[in-house]
């Protein structure tokens, strides 16, 4: 469960860290992918996992366009973070209402043939969709980590993040790199959104709840820290899971936010030192 938060959070963390863009619409894009998966499943019985293959490239292209035409003009503003928050909030509103128009406000669930199947491993048993969500998220996180550490573009992304000016001197095309990062971030939100849809029911307003978890994962893990976000996602998943066993449901969120506040005040750089 936590790994899915991690997958959703990584893209958010990347665009925050690399471009100083806090993408409020991040979760909305994820939700969009979830709805797309739902429609594909209903119309052609396409498995949600396969639908990621459709939604991820689609979101990547859409995000590149958004970056080129909407985000680029504001990167020169004095306070990129603030302007980007307002801007992406606008995008989130548009997306949410597009989804309302297309899919109506009813809550949906992704139901596949294997939804209720269970795997039993010794004393533990795992629900199939949870396992699928976990595996997909793990693959997603892994591939992003691989991309950043091993490929040329990934290295350029990390360079741009540490020293934007120096990176440019060494021939890194900052604009192109930023565009790719943003595209990648939004695309990973798409994959994360489908994984979330496996676990929870969703409706066009759900993205604001997801957004809070995004902040949680990124802050706990440290901004721009991929592995930190992954571990933070797992920790949050475990905490909410465990506290569900001891506390009534409505107190769980209270605990989560209280915890986030305390972490923020005591260790604003995240629980793990940034390791870039």
């Amino acid at each position: 469960m936590g790994s899915v938060y991690a997958l959703l959070g990584i893209g958010f963390s990347l665009s925050w860290g690399v471009m100083k863009v806090i993408n409020i619409s991040h979760a909305a894009f994820g939700l969009f992918a979830a709805f797309l998966a739902y429609t594909l499943l209903q119309a052609w019985g396409l498995d949600p996992i396969l639908s990621i293959g459709v939604s991820v490239p689609l979101l990547f292209i859409a995000a590149c366009f958004i970056y080129r035409f909407l985000i680029t003009p504001i990167t020169h503003a004095k306070e990129v973070i603030v302007s980007s928050m307002i801007m992406t909030f606008g995008i989130a509103i548009i997306l949410e209402n597009l989804m309302l128009l297309i899919w109506s406000p009813d809550p949906r669930v992704l139901t596949t043939s294997y939804t209720s199947k269970v795997i039993i491993l010794g004393p533990f048993y795992f629900q199939y969709p949870r396992l699928a969500g976990f595996l997909m998220a793990a693959i997603g996180v892994g591939s992003i980590q691989f991309f950043l550490k091993r490929t040329y573009t990934g290295k350029a992304v990390r360079a741009a993040w540490q020293q934007p000016d120096a990176a440019q001197l060494y021939g890194v095309n900052l604009k192109r790199i930023s565009m790719i990062t943003f595209g990648l971030a939004v695309a990973s939100a798409g994959a994360g959104g489908v994984c979330m849809a496996y676990l929870y029911s969703f409706e066009p307003h759900t993205h604001s709840l997801w957004l809070i978890y995004l902040f949680l994962v990124v802050i706990v893990g440290g901004v721009g820290n991929v592995l930190g976000a992954a571990s933070a996602g797992l920790i949050i998943g475990v905490i909410t899971g465990l506290s569900l066993a001891f506390l009534p449901y409505q107190w769980v969120n209270l605990l989560t936010f209280g915890l986030l506040m305390i972490i923020l005040i005591l260790r604003p750089q995240g629980l793990f030192q940034s390791e870039v």
Binding site: I86, L254, F257, M261
Partner: protein
């Protein structure tokens, strides 16, 4: 020169205030009174937020918490002491002070964080208060609280509350005006530019940050109190609605943070546009246009609408090019 223009501004605002004050007694449809009430409320919220968010650059995304705390304080006071309508309106004053007290307590640890971290911690604070109240049964819990409406015609009640909100709005604008002129405001601006430098210039940054945060919580608390009585029913989902929090920030920045007029213009425009759009087109389309508006403004007027007016004014009033150039190089 300065004092005469000052007097002009003062006179115009008094005139405007009187015009607005007699407005509800003309027997217009309640709708208009309610609409203006909402406008006043958002002007109060955005103007107050501007003190910490606009001047000091600390983006508080949790200001709805103070609004909600004010609403709940008033509701509890009214319920607990069975207050008459007159006292109810006055009970929004302690509500404002409760909000201020909580702002001080919360502000002390939170204001050490900067930038997006402060934004997130205040966001969390709003959620914690929201969920906390929802889970406490003495505060109405998930059912919310009902307030008894007095036995007066609806127009009269609305008109009275309208006046109360108007007064609160005027007070908050006066506070904003004072802030923009005082040493306090200058200190906050210095903090926004560079906190370390401000501190070496003998500005007690932690202290004035807390003062600003507390001041920016008072009027939202009072407005929340009036709003609670206006709705006669309060529920955490209404008075702690995250949308309000985000709208406050957007309104202030939309108009132009760190100016007196900016949040006022932003709040009035956005409230009216939202209202106007939702009467003429389908709600979803209205929202899509609304979202597009944010994108448009941020691309073309990244520092808010006020910037546009300032440029116009400077050209119109014929201030010399040198002055213009100096301002530009300063910015």
């Amino acid at each position: 020169m300065v004092s005469s223009s000052n007097r002009l501004v003062f006179g115009v605002s008094i005139l405007l205030f009187l015009c607005l004050a007699i407005f509800p007694w003309f027997g217009l449809p309640v709708y208009f009174v309610s609409l203006l009430f909402t406008v006043f409320m958002f002007v109060t919220l955005a103007t107050s937020w501007n003190i910490i968010g606009g001047y000091a650059g600390y983006l508080s995304f949790g200001h709805v918490a103070f609004f909600g705390i004010g609403a709940y304080t008033t509701a509890l006071l009214v319920k607990g002491f069975h207050l008459s309508p007159f006292w109810t309106i006055l009970s929004s004053i302690p509500a404002g002070f409760v909000a201020m007290l909580i702002a001080m307590i919360v502000g002390y640890p939170c204001l050490r964080l900067r930038g997006p971290y402060f934004a997130v911690v205040t966001l969390c604070f709003a959620f914690v208060v929201d969920l906390g109240i929802k889970n406490l049964d003495i505060l109405g819990g998930p059912e919310g609280l009902w307030l008894k409406s007095p036995d007066l015609p609806i127009e009269t009640i609305r008109a009275i509350l309208f006046e109360a909100m108007l007064v609160i709005m005027m007070l908050s604008i006066m506070l904003a005006y004072w802030t923009s002129r005082s040493k306090f405001g200058a200190g906050l601006r210095a903090i926004k530019e560079d906190e370390e430098v401000a501190q070496t210039m003998a500005i007690n940054a932690p202290l004035i940050k807390i003062q600003a945060f507390a001041l920016s919580a008072v009027f939202p608390g009072m407005a929340g109190g009036i709003y609670a009585y206006y709705l006669t029913y309060i529920h955490t989902d209404i008075v702690f609605d995250m949308m309000i929090s985000i709208l406050i920030v957007l309104m202030a920045l939309f108009g132009g943070g760190g100016t007196v007029m900016g949040p006022i213009i932003g709040a009035v425009l956005l409230t009216l546009i939202n209202e106007g759009l939702s009467t003429f087109v389908k709600a979803e389309f209205a929202r899509i246009i609304y979202g597009g508006l944010f994108i448009g403004v941020i691309i073309f007027l990244p520092n808010g609408i006020m910037e546009f007016f300032k440029k116009e004014n400077r050209v119109e009033s014929g201030i010399f090019l040198a002055e213009n150039g100096r301002n530009r190089s300063a910015a």
